[in-house]
Amino acid sequence: MDETRDGEGSSQPVEAKTKAQGMSHQSDVLPCDQLRDQVIGNQSSHTQLMETLLHLRQTVDDCITQLTTRPPQLDLPLEEQRHNQATGEQEAFLRRVVNLLQSGAMWGLGLQAPRPTLGPRDDAGGGQQAQLSRQLDQLVHQLSHLEVAFVSHDLSNRGIDISAFERSKFQDFKTYQGDKYHEDKNTMGFINLGVSENKLCTDLMTERLSRSDMNHLEDALLQYSDQRGQPFLREEVARFLTYYCKSPARLDPENVVVLSGCCSVFSALATVLCDPGEALLTPTPFFGGLVMGSYLYSKVELMPVHLDSEITDGSARPFQLTVDKLEQALLEATLKGKKVRGLLLINPQNPLGDVYSRDSLEEYLEFAKRYNLHVIIDELYMLSVFDDSVTFHSVLSMESLPDPNRTHMIWGTSKDFGISGFRFGALYTHNKEVASAVSSFGFLNGISGITQYKLCRLLQDREWIDKVYLPTNHSRLKAAHRYITNKLKALKIPFLNRGSGLYVWMNLKEYLQPCTFEEELLLHHRFLGNKLILSPGKTYMCKEPGWFRLIFSDKPLPLKLAMHRFYEVLAEQKRDLRVKQLEDPQKE
């Protein structure tokens, strides 16, 4: 799946996402929602608004008290590092409250001016009120440089959710964008090893895309096209997948739908397969951006199938997915009253880098068939398997699919060709109904004809792909991977050595004491403090604290600097842990 560019590593907590998905606003019990309703309903009345504001102030104070007395629990946006003890629901709530106050100010109901009419809650004198106002202002100032309000009288509830979701990421991104590492201009800037982008072959891609064959123009490219995508592109995608997925039979262009990015494909697919509130099973840890993909528009939930790092009876390797686990997760979901419509698999897996064996794949598909579940299989990294000893099996390579009408494959060029900015994703499905339904989104998630033409030329050029691009890409990935893993080995940091994808999944448990998600988050912020963006395991719904994903597909120079910063942080962390150990017994 396409990932957000702003680093899922520092995104909003997955838990909060899941919760938001699960609840409609009617049942959402967050007090701020009620307050919002209250405020929105009474926009015209200054008196009542002031009452609400005063109530909010009270709540803010309560929150501050709670925040200072409670340990952090959840993730935080980058910008609020200095408040990294302020976490979780309270923190989110607090932000909402502050925003609410801001939107109050936006209506021209300034907070500063004392109002003659005060609500019953106001037992404070004018002076105290002014002081409170100042505190609030400070708070507003400290909390963030807010551009937008979470709570808006203009947005629908879902609009507010969407906005809220984006906002923290947006702020992260702004911070990162404003202080991005550049090898000449800003060597002290943030190095982003949190976003899964392949930057190793931009030279090759730039050269290929600059060749004259890319610039062809004809009237059909500027006009409305078939909503499923231009026929020439769908034909090329079918040929391409037939070849690279090693399909036993030639794939049919009629089964291909192309949209603006894999997020769009997934979102459209989730929408046509599930009704709001229905769910898809997915093994975790997994790439969290999909949660958003399934949530923002479609309101489809994801039910995690938690995997263990421990090797147990049923499994041969860490985080192995087994049918038993699928069965169990399905049962649990059903007991919770969740209607599960499908299973989402990512292969090669993100963030584990695992590749499913043919037999495993078959088992998962059989499991899905037993329960009439759709299988959405995301093979976005299929050509990024750089270790020759690893064999990737595409679902399209299978002789016969257990349930072809419920098997839907997604692929795009973002990762394998390092062109996430192209916004291209493709669906391959044998199910004509599903293909037609997804095609309805062709307008809303369409791709420019010019882009479609370039993509077609790119996918067509097997010679270049096989002889130039893939070998170079793989050897550069291999070298970068080797560099990183050697560093990790030297630091005695355990990691999964998988040979596919753009990332390494590593275990920093040893640097957490106690081993909790709070500590994981603190460590994450320590990295951020040292201008290094990584993604903590919590973002992937990993159930064990201490895991991080590191993207290694960057140029040698930033990579080297990143590892230096990484080392610094860990050394510092270790020192602190030793001090802590010394102090602890003394306390007792």
Binding site: T4, R5, E147, A149, S152, D154, L155, S156, N157, R158, G159, I162, E197, T202, M205, T206, L209, S210, M214, N215, L217, D219, L221, L222, Q223, Y224, D226, S260, G261, S264, T271, V272, L273, C274, D275, E278, M292, L296, Y297, S298, R406, G418, S420, G421, R423, F424, E433, V434, A437, S439, S440, F441, F443, L444, N445, G446, I447, S448, I450, T451
Partner: protein, 502 residues
Amino acid sequence: MFALPEKESRAPSTCPGPASTQDLDSNCGDGLERECSRKPDQKLPELYGVGDPTAGFSSNSSHLSSRGGIIKWFWDSAEAGYRTYHMDEYDEDKNPSGIINLGTSENKLCFDLLSKRLSQSDMLRVEPALLQYPDWRGHLFLREEVARFLSFYCKSPVPLQAENVVVLNGCASVFSALATVLCEVGEAFLIPAPYYGAITQHVCLYGNVRLVSVYLDSEVTGPDTRPFQLTVEKLEMALQGANSQGIKVKGLILINPQNPLGDIYSPAELQNFLEFAKRHELHVMVDEVYMLSVFEESVGYRSVLSLERLPDPQRTHVMWATSKDFGMSGLRFGTLYTENRDVATAVASLCRYHGLSGLVQHQMAQLLRDRDWINQVYLPENHARLKAAHTYVAGELRALGIPFLSRGAGFFIWADLRKYLPEGSFEEERRLWRRFLDHKVLVSFGKAFECKEPGWFRLVFSDKAHRLCLGMQRVRQVLEGKSQVAEDPPACQTQEPRDRHR
């Protein structure tokens, strides 16, 4: 009564309802639950209509969710005429007897100019930043260019801000995103009808938002009025009507220049509509996708962004795209301009689904920046060609004695073919449309625009002369053989084309 959703107004099952373009035989009355539930007949005059885009839908699929079934039905029904066209597209050399498309609103007159401009070397830059994840709102260089462009062409009294611009892949996406972030499921927007019918689908697919039609009359009622004139009174009535049915209306959609009427709103009218919206705390989405396609200078078009003072700037959202004005519907470039940061941010977060390639963003910035070419080459030539094509089609219609509307904006003429429908029913309208198609010319009928009077058709004239002439020739043939229209027995269901009139 026409204000009703089709399913209820349809007779038990003998003949297709007015929307029979879209209904592929429906077993109505199945118990499918929809989020857009329909309300019973309120016995009101035909002032408004609450759209239920899924009225003709019935299906059960073992593989799709219930909304998935509806979404698929959209695909199936929308394709009906279009598919016929695509299977038999006219080509001067390869398929001279193929179908001429006067139905899709595209400007095909200036491809030569565009292709030349888009092939210049400044367009072809490739650099790594364009290949990587962009800012979801669109690359800053493009948003800045859009702000400058709109400031200039919309004659904004103050420079517009790049921060207020969000770039998406087409205006369809802007509608979809706005509907989602402004409305809850089942809420509605007001829209004067007839209107560009695809908006129904844009706001419904993801957003599940409905449209309430504000029906306009072809009759002229006073000295200063014109056919299909929108008035505040009509807006008020429709809003009241919708409210009385328990429908929560969150906004008003205005298309200016209007599609399919080709009408434009005067600044005073615009101001009135915006004031109306402000009174009721409605958002206003102004679709100005034809703003540079006003080819009669005397018309005096004014963008909403040119107004000195917007009544409610936080609730006014403007959309524009290159699809029409630059004849590039396939490029998928659209943009939202809103001073409301909440709305901009919320829409931007949906841009992960509505993104545009970095390379195309670069091209668009280059295009919009090139004022010399736009002002001295493209616009004058485009307007001259539009005018010529318009003059030709208008002349043809006059020769046939067909009344029509067209005020010198847009790509189409709204033609009154009511005299060819003896009974004045939508079924006849559809049959006439079918006859056009059988005679290898694709046009659009009024029902597709939610026009409440049967018999209006939209003819797109922005096509090359040879195709246009042939298209009009076929239109004439059908209309001159008009007597047969009335004699046709009522069709019992939608069928394959009948060829006996050829």
